[in-house]
Symmetry: C2
Subunit: 312 residues, 2 copies
């Protein structure tokens, strides 16, 4: 599980930062990549990475502001031309209006896609998606326009089968190891009955990644971020600008760091960096946030981070 | 009058070529820049040029395919943030549907612009726009979707006032030179009557620039291109692919060169170059076209050309 920042800017593209898009790479886990927001030029950014558009199976849109969605029709169209392989359905999750936006753009441009799109317009907070490996929860944030944050929860990994113990107890290897691993009861040829559950190590906690849209501080921020291994939080303003941040429905770097601290997250990534913060000034944003929460990283375009498991 | 190619690719953005956009810079003439097509990422390309978005006063859209329009909402939004100066109205000319596309995108993204947009959906061929310096004509091309080509005609420059002759004839300098220059009749203090028209040199021919959208060969191509100082023609396919070009409603480099030759244009610029033609292969497109029409240039992103006056 890796997170790759495709665009870390705010509002308009700048030379150093494109507008928002984040790729959550779940290739090892489920052979899928998920995109969070698709600002204009996201497909151009993808060209400079190893990401294959056909692997992108789900797109989550936090809100409909232009710097978060104007790259969507172009990305969807270009994805059609990628390789001869049959492309599976792509699911787009987002606030009400995302379907009209995409469908109007594709209809008027007469773009015919080689794959199906399923639209899930979010009307309720809570569980938005689940499969055998992941759950995604959505909750409302406080932006000028309807805006969501997403909490991606990896299901726990079952404990490893304690093969050494089984060998010590002279349990013959073979297909029954698979049953034990699944936690089932097994009768051995010599009459002994073993319960798989007794031979499994500690289950490993799945990871949690929280990706927020643009937002003012609001209780849902903390709820979504609780104990996340990685929290992606906007940082449109600097430490002395909390008033400005409030008026524009955004957050400061310090507010983000305080959330990270309170929610006891593993790592905080700051993004949605205004073009006013370039070079040393953007480093200062990071430095100031670290005085509150040490594990803070200011994300730059194309930065990629592995999401580590919790230590304990 | 200069033409700057902001995107010279076809279909999807590629590393070397962005999707279509062309800037016609009329800064000396009328202090305006006109854009022809606005593919996704056009605003990103503009960031790497000296073009000021607020100078862009008119946008002409050839057709609604995504690689020609998906950069429009983002460009329009970002233009709002450019400087404190009051921005004049921007006019968008294009096929039916362009207004719905832009308005839907701006409405759903809640983009509030600081300037007015006027939409001119083209329903008739012929004169589309004129002011004291320029006329723009539109005519239908033959693409899979409704598509237009544009012929931009600079009005002729009046002849220069022949000051040397006036001095030789002892005509006292002063405000009456202005009247003579405007071709008016003037009575001198000594009673002589002069007709300005007799003291004007040859008028200078205005320039003609023809910018075509994607198209198969069709009679309007030649009509629009006739005697243009510069012709911008798509070249999606190479010399041995006229069948493919026909099936996909596009043209080859050789077809473009033949038009340039028949229409007796000054210069031919090839654009809309497929990503299949990179490096030497794209140079071959140019080389092959030059066997038919010598003054051919294959345009690359950011190439800028001055449009010269006709020689005679
Ligand atoms: Zn926003
Ligand atoms: Zn086209």
């Amino acid at each position: 599980m890796e997170i790759e920042f495709l665009g870390t800017g705010a509002g308009s593209p700048a030379k150093a930062r494109n507008v928002t898009s984040i790729a959550l790479k779940l290739l090892e886990e489920i052979n899928e990549i998920w995109l969070f927001d698709v600002g204009e030029g996201t497909q151009h950014q993808i060209l400079r990475t190893t990401i294959k558009p056909r692997k992108i199976a789900r797109i989550f849109i936090t809100h409909l502001h232009g710097d978060h969605i104007f790259g969507l029709p172009g990305f969807l169209s270009s994805r059609s031309f990628q390789g001869a392989e049959k492309l599976g359905q792509l699911v787009i999750y987002g606030p009400k209006g995302i379907q009209e936006y995409v469908q109007t753009s594709l209809r008027l441009s007469q773009s015919k896609l080689t794959y199906k799109i399923k639209y899930v317009e979010i009307d309720e907070e809570g569980l938005l998606f689940e499969n055998s490996k992941f759950q995604v929860f959505a909750a409302r944030l406080d932006h000028r326009i309807e805006c969501f944050g997403f909490r991606i929860v990896e299901r726990d990994y079952p404990g490893e089968l304690q093969v050494d113990r089984l060998r010590a107890e002279k349990v013959p290897s073979g297909p029954l190891y698979g049953k034990l691993k699944a936690g089932e009861k097994v009768v051995l040829p010599d009459g002994r009955t073993l319960n798989g559950k007794d031979y499994l190590g500690q289950p490993k906690r799945g990871r949690i990644v929280t990706i927020l849209g643009d937002t003012r501080q609001t209780p849902n921020v903390l709820a979504l971020a609780q104990h996340a291994n990685a929290l992606v939080h906007e940082s449109t303003f600097g430490k002395d600008e909390s008033q400005l941040a409030f008026s524009y429905y955004h957050s400061t770097n310090i507010q983000a760091a305080k959330v990270a601290q309170k929610a006891q997250v593993g790592k905080l990534f700051l993004t949605h960096i205004s073009a006013r913060y370039v070079g040393l000034k953007s480093l200062q944003l990071e430095k100031d946030a670290r005085t509150v929460f040490k594990q803070t990283t200011l994300a730059n375009d194309f930065d990629t981070f592995f999401i580590p498991f919790s230590r304990k």
